[in-house]
Symmetry: D2
């Protein structure tokens, strides 16, 4: 920690700050500047609690942490990439993984048809919502357990692993029974009760970045899951909220490159939610591969214009097939770059 | 709904859109412009589902809703202000209500001392967190049930109603047993499972605006609670996330004036979380009263520099007393303005 | 400056950083932490240049400035409020100053009628645009010199001082001939050529905060004007750009309180541009007075529905009169609070 | 235009709106809904002025434009890509163009060495600032005319075309004499006086997106230049301001895909300013190529740790060489995709 005192802080205020730091178990180093005193705290202690108290003390101008607030998810903690192996496919490994499927599970026919089509086109996992976080209470809230069963059927038919969202602690066990990867939606990224509950499961977790969460907060939420016992976390950039309205959200692709530096966890990109418009999905998918993401989460629907939700951003099956075909040379480049980088950043 | 077709939309595309609208039970009116066709849909139907499908149809450029997506919480639904009566005090009524207390319940002495002090200074309710949503898993997570019991003790000692946060569906019953108003924190504003659970209780709910939620989304989340059975909702502006870093968040005071036009629900302001710095709390409190808020949520701690959390933004007791004294003439003006406005906006 | 080295920075990298700091004339203090070395630089030198170079050096994680980057505009430089006296009225003094008028000067009748009405209602200065910064090249660009002459006529008729925008360096002299205060619009807040040009005039400058400029950047732009020779600067908060769309911009009222702590320059609020909707102007005006602004900039038009620009946010004359009447008790409180505060923050 | 009346708008208010619309030369179509009347206006007129007036009329809830507010820069106006040919290189054509060089021109040796290195590595144009828009008046403001002359020397030595910023109308002629492409910086994107001045030159203009400007506003600013006579405009995405602080700005790469749909003008990406950190530049450069940008603007410095400005985001020459080598397979793909797309979006 570095504590800057105010220009006119008194000697007594400075002494109280020094004492407080020492009570937390740190060693103190002061620098007497021309305008102010700056104090460095070195050692091991409860940084957060200490910072909060220092910031509240008279004479203190600012108190900042120097080390990262997360540990298990950091690159320092683990130099090799985390690989999440599910049902024969591996996220974070040597292949770029495409997870595709409809926003909501709507019917047996819909989900089976989509699953078969996306599997044929090269997707390795199936996404589909059985529990839907909708802004309005009057919108379709998902097929719930019936939807989970249909996803399982689709898995049996195609071999695709299942990724689906869980919205409530009380549904965790049920969802974990049917799905291979449990998704936490953007709106629940800081639902800490849910994060803890998923920390206690053994299923991998796909954690979506909150709409206006910083990269650091995303990593802290991942740290919650890992610290509570579950190291199998996949991160997902899905667009952040900005002033721009030409796209539904602003896809923060540089976050992928930043995360590759900071964490060993795999990072996916969801171009569908980021853009909100299907024509933008293929170019964003290419860019995600180029910047070094580990894969994609893409919305596909057999008839987008009949979709109950997110139709405007869902690819029709032929569009998805075309995107997968067009991605082929980019994925060849991806594999070369990944192989050359090994566990280093791409 | 108003649907704008693309400039080169074909007749067939236009016909399919018209049919789809009619299937949803609306009447169709077309306008043939020089560049494009615009279609109006009139009547009663499932707007959201219809819009989502239309947006996904070929030839459609945009499809927008004209009526508000919420109903029970709107001014159209109810012209008179909702008054939430708790333990002798009334939010949304003829008095400006100050709810004060520490960020976290830390000890019996701390909460009792604070409760007595804020009661003496004019606060009508006591706030204090027993369950704490912390960004880091390594930070203090609250005293939980023990904290709830201390809050109850403070109520017995002072007569203040208790406002405290509930973070998990599974805690709702326990918290409702001890508290008078259940708070939903900013990070859970779109935790729809929790919103539904609170819709099934009879306790009033204090719903904080998400850090980057629009006013419309705040109202939709309130609508969730009301639509699930609980009409006793209080809204709270607590600062939104912007690019500005001089304050912890940006206090969106105009949201109070906007909400007063759109909804009959009461609106509080939390200047402590909005500003993140105690020196800004008193001026923001004055401004909140002036703009027509129904009250404040303020952090007060007997020794901010020892607070486990949020010390920098907590007022010490003498600071709170001074703020309450300085507010007196502003609250007299508030009462005059409120009395003159009646149920109209201030 | 505080420079944090990366955890694995080499001794050589650290030595090179120390040398560089010393070349800039600073004294160096190192702190050897458990994880990393932190270096403090104390003394007087070219901070900005030094920081930029340090950030680019190998082994450096971050380099941050501790002292504020502005000087003349800071509270440390001058403890007493700056008062801008123009034509008998004083901004930053003992009265809350309302500057009112239309967005654009449109005709002699329009500007004279407005000027007379706002003067009668208590405004002390007249605003009106002769040069209009419009997003589209196809929109009305202002009456230019003819508009300036009409403003002057309005001054002669009413005694109101004139505030008007200058958009181009080449217009500065002409505008300065006709106007009492030269306004820099939000879009030009970082038009440094224009800032320098206004630094060379003697007219007071009203500097509007850029739509997405931080408070620090606003102060830096003010510093430009002062450093180039003109100390007569008035700041103006006019709403910042955020994700919220219910208002045209988000009025950052807490910026007023922050600025009162950081600078001796007066601060106005423009509720019209901030809100974008006339019904929100009166509540924001009350809040601006309550939080300690020095005055308002308000759009008023004799017939808003015929206004060439900004009609939706302009008050009709009777609305302005009513707002001014309703403000009376708030301004009495304002004067009491200001008198009690003196040169300290309100 | 589509005008939604308020639910309780009176017949008289509706009639006045209809009349106003007709006065502007439009035909009127009304739709009587269950809750409200919606009015469509069809034809040709001064949309902006009409909308502004309608929004201010009693009984009007909202008035929205349906057609785009720009014309010359739109894809509808021109279906084939605009190619900007300068000194043998072509932006918007069959090659991905890299423009590289230092933030500021600092000395003859610095600019010549950089120019030779980037030319050898494959850059087609040289960037370098002679006039620098600096947040602080105390920072280096550029070498001005002497810098322009050094750029010219670098051109003579290497054959690279010169791209440099112009900040002031009064410098336009001088800069145009020395440079091949005149750059408008992000902070001047809505300096309309400067836009008009550049509309009157014949030099191509590189227009950088404002830090918090929407895509629509960027196109409107380009429209200013074109409407004033200069059709040679290149757009540049350079990162937008958001709440995220891990990067200097948030690189909005999807803006490239959106712009490719909306306009025929070429679009560059500036990963250096967007990211603010050199390690992120190569991954962003790959992503920019993949998403279909027409080229890059990259900061390169022979000794970033001695750079006067932007050292942290400047690539050293060997880093730039490596990036260019690594880009080779991505640019091969780029050419294939571009050739297949022709004038259509990539």
């Amino acid at each position: 920690m570095i504590i800057s005192m105010k220009p006119h802080a008194t000697k007594e205020q400075i002494d109280r700050v020094r004492e407080r730091i020492e009570q937390f178990g740190y060693r103190v180093h002061s620098i007497q500047g021309d305008e102010r005193v700056v104090i460095g705290a070195v050692g091991v202690g409860d940084v957060t609690a200490c910072l909060e108290q220092l910031e509240a003390m008279p004479g203190v101008e600012s108190a900042v942490r120097i080390s990262a607030p997360y540990k298990f998810v950091s690159r320092e903690f683990r130099q090799t990439r985390t690989r999440i192996r599910v049902n024969g496919a591996e996220i974070g490994g040597d292949e770029f993984i495409v997870i595709a499927g409809p926003c909501s599970v709507e019917s047996e026919e819909q989900i089976l048809r989509t699953a078969e089509a996306v599997a044929r086109a090269g997707a390795k996992m199936l996404r589909g919502g059985a529990y839907k976080p909708r802004t309005s209470p009057y919108e379709f809230q998902g097929m719930e357990e019936a939807g989970l069963k249909l996803l399982r059927k689709a898995k049996q038919a195609t071999g695709l692993a299942i990724v689906t969202e869980v919205m409530s602690e009380s549904d965790v066990d049920l969802v974990a029974e049917h799905a291979d990867i449990l998704q936490i939606g953007a709106r629940n990224m800081q639902n800490f009760s849910l994060l803890k509950a998923l920390g206690r499961t053994t299923r991998p977790v796909l954690l979506k970045r909150g709409m206006s969460s910083t990269i650091r907060e995303l990593l802290m939420s991942a740290e919650y899951i890992v610290a509570h016992g579950n190291p199998h976390v996949v991160l997902c950039e899905r667009g952040i909220r900005t002033f721009e309205t030409a796209t539904r959200n602003t896809c923060d692709l540089s976050a992928v490159a930043v995360l590759n530096e900071l964490t060993h966890l795999p990072v996916l990109v969801d171009p569908s939610h980021a853009a909100g418009r299907r024509s933008l999905v293929p170019p964003l998918a290419r860019a995600a591969a180029a910047i070094g993401a580990d894969g994609l989460l893409v919305e596909v629907h057999p008839a987008p214009e009949n979709a109950i939700s997110d139709g405007a951003q869902s690819l029709a099956i032929p569009e998805f097939e075309r995107m997968m075909r067009d991605l082929v040379p980019y994925l060849r480049l991806w594999r070369e770059t990944r192989a050359a980088a090994g566990d280093a950043t791409m």
